[in-house]
């Protein structure tokens, strides 16, 4: 126990830093070997990983409250990025203002562990409140579209992502891993899935899986990713989560499939708007939505799987 971090969670943090170190060293080695090629983007990408991972782990280690505030802040950045790129009416500024206010309230329910309110606040109360606020402004032209876009954005970036924070307040079932272990498991499996699908697709990919949305995504990459993550997840689940090995395999399958769909859904949004990235917040990655796309879909599904199997 260091900094009150459960042992297995601490080891996994060390492993992740070791992987990052390997990535940085390989990049330096590659750059030395091919002095003519430009590795700026790869360098920025890895550098950004160092920042994101260090920031996340620091907040997780300092305290549960710090971590909840961090996830709330991430939701804010993601929601803001969403509202900045999608078409909204000038008349809806006040409705959008209220949707931002939903963030502290939603994460407050997390912090006081009020599951019943946490799970219905955005899908029911905010769902009903936002159109009421919009009606009071009274602009009917484009009403349906406007209310759809606004609530969908809050669902994706606040409701879905807040499930990661709720993992932190569940009763601890695996004492060696703690709830930090659950969060590290969820985030690292999701991100590894992105990497695995990319690598399998690059090396074996032939058949495009969804060419209209993402011409680079292939069936081979998808299947390779699903198999890789299912295997890794099955082997590490009992180390970092309260799941058994068999349950871990299934969790890996869920993470991999949901991660893929989260990625292509956000890609479709960007394609519809004819932009390549949703922002420039994270050098080498694009915007924060570009990084969170898979996590948005994985978090609630993984959460409810854990909730169903373990609690």
């Amino acid at each position: 126990m260091i900094f009150d971090v459960p042992q297995n969670a601490f080891y996994s943090i060390l492993v992740i830093f070791f992987l990052l170190m390997t990535a940085s060293l390989s990049r330096i080695f590659l750059a030395k070997k091919n002095p003519k090629s430009d590795f700026t983007e790869l360098r920025q990408r890895i550098q950004s990983w160092w920042w994101m991972v260090s920031f996340l782990f620091s907040c997780l280690i300092i305290s549960r409250t710090t971590a909840i505030i961090l996830f709330g802040f991430i939701s804010f950045l993601a929601l803001k990025e969403f509202f900045s790129i999608v078409p909204t009416r000038l008349a809806d500024r006040r409705v959008i203002f209220w949707s931002y206010l939903a963030i502290p309230i939603q994460y407050y329910w997390v912090s006081i562990e009020w599951y019943g309110m946490f799970i219905i606040f955005i899908p029911i109360y905010l769902f009903l409140f936002l159109p009421v606020r919009m009606v009071l402004i009274g602009e009917t032209k484009g009403f349906i579209r406007a209310i759809g876009i606004t609530h969908w954005g809050v669902m994706l970036t606040v409701f879905c992502l807040s499930h990661i924070a709720y993992l932190l307040v569940l009763p601890v079932k695996n004492l060696d891993a703690g709830n930090i272990g659950l969060v590290i498991f969820l985030i690292s499996m999701t991100q590894l899935n992105d990497v695995a699908q990319y690598i399998w697709g690059k090396s074996l990919g032939r058949r495009p899986i969804i060419p209209k949305v993402s011409p680079n995504k292939t069936l081979e990459g998808f299947i390779g990713g699903v198999l890789t993550i299912t295997l890794i997840s099955g082997n590490f689940a009992s180390f970092l989560t309260p799941l058994s090995a068999n349950e871990g395999y299934f969790a890996g399958l869920l993470i991999s499939i949901c991660g893929f769909f989260g990625d292509v859904v956000i890609s479709s949004v960007k394609r519809d708007l004819e932009i390549k990235d949703s922002g420039t917040l994270i050098p080498g990655h694009g915007g924060i939505l570009d990084r969170l796309d898979s996590l948005i879909f994985v978090s609630p599904v993984f959460f409810h799987y854990i909730h169903y199997v373990v609690f």
Binding site: E81, I85, T88, R89, F97, Y100, I275, L281, G287
Partner: protein, 217 residues
């Protein structure tokens, strides 16, 4: 110099946290940002936040060299705004309806600032106008640079702030803002050519904005 320190503190403690955390910028073309004068940055105008966002791009060490040219009739109109404008932002006040003043006299303070190597910020539309819509570019700026071959002109486009704080609204709502810095504009011989070129450049830069589809017309 107390004014210089006041300006730095104002930006460091108040403006920069708002600009970089609450608003959030998508910056492109950062390498085109001029760090020394005499230079004029010409930008489009949607919101009061434009000036503050633009000034936050510069390192604090040269912040005292950055001077927005702003309408005297508006910014000097009430005592609090006047004090902020002159001390914390350090504007160059300009008469917007210069019917009875000669051009030389009108631009006197601008020329003095450029002579000192300052970077001036000018909004050639002259007003914030309809949010996120380009207004007609006025030619005053051409007269300002016409007899100054030493002065660079750098175009810059912002998009998104018209949503955050449009004209006539008091409630601020956070949205990301695109900032696209273009390459230095070539010298032109005639007023019309200059205005044409500037407007083409603005439109080209606006096409690079990630937030360009953010409004329902």
């Amino acid at each position: 110099m107390p004014k210089r320190i006041l300006k730095i503190l104002f930006f460091l403690l108040l403006i920069r946290p708002i600009v970089f955390i609450v608003i959030g910028l998508n910056i492109r073309g950062k390498r085109n940002l001029p760090l020394s004068g005499p230079t004029i940055i010409v930008a489009n105008h949607n919101s009061h936040l434009d000036t503050l966002v633009l000034m936050s791009l510069f390192p604090l060490s040269i912040l005292h060299n950055i001077r927005p040219v702003a309408a005297a009739d508006y910014f000097l109109s009430n005592p609090i705004l006047k004090w902020l404008s002159l001390n914390c932002i350090d504007i160059i006040p300009l008469a917007r309806k210069p019917r009875f003043i000669s051009k030389d006299k009108l631009f006197q303070t601008c020329h003095a600032a450029l002579d000192k190597g300052n970077i001036l910020i000018i909004f050639p539309e002259g007003t914030r106008g309809v949010p996120e819509e380009m207004g007609r570019i006025k030619s005053g700026i051409f007269h300002l640079i016409n007899d100054r071959k030493d002065t660079r002109v750098v175009p810059l486009v912002m998009h998104g702030l018209g949503k955050s704080l449009p004209r006539g609204e008091a409630l601020f709502v956070p949205f990301n803002c695109d900032v696209i810095i273009g390459e230095q504009l070539p010298l032109e011989t005639s007023k019309d050519k200059f205005v044409d070129n500037l407007s083409t450049t603005f439109n080209a830069l606006l096409k690079q904005c990630l937030t360009r589809n953010n409004s329902v017309k």
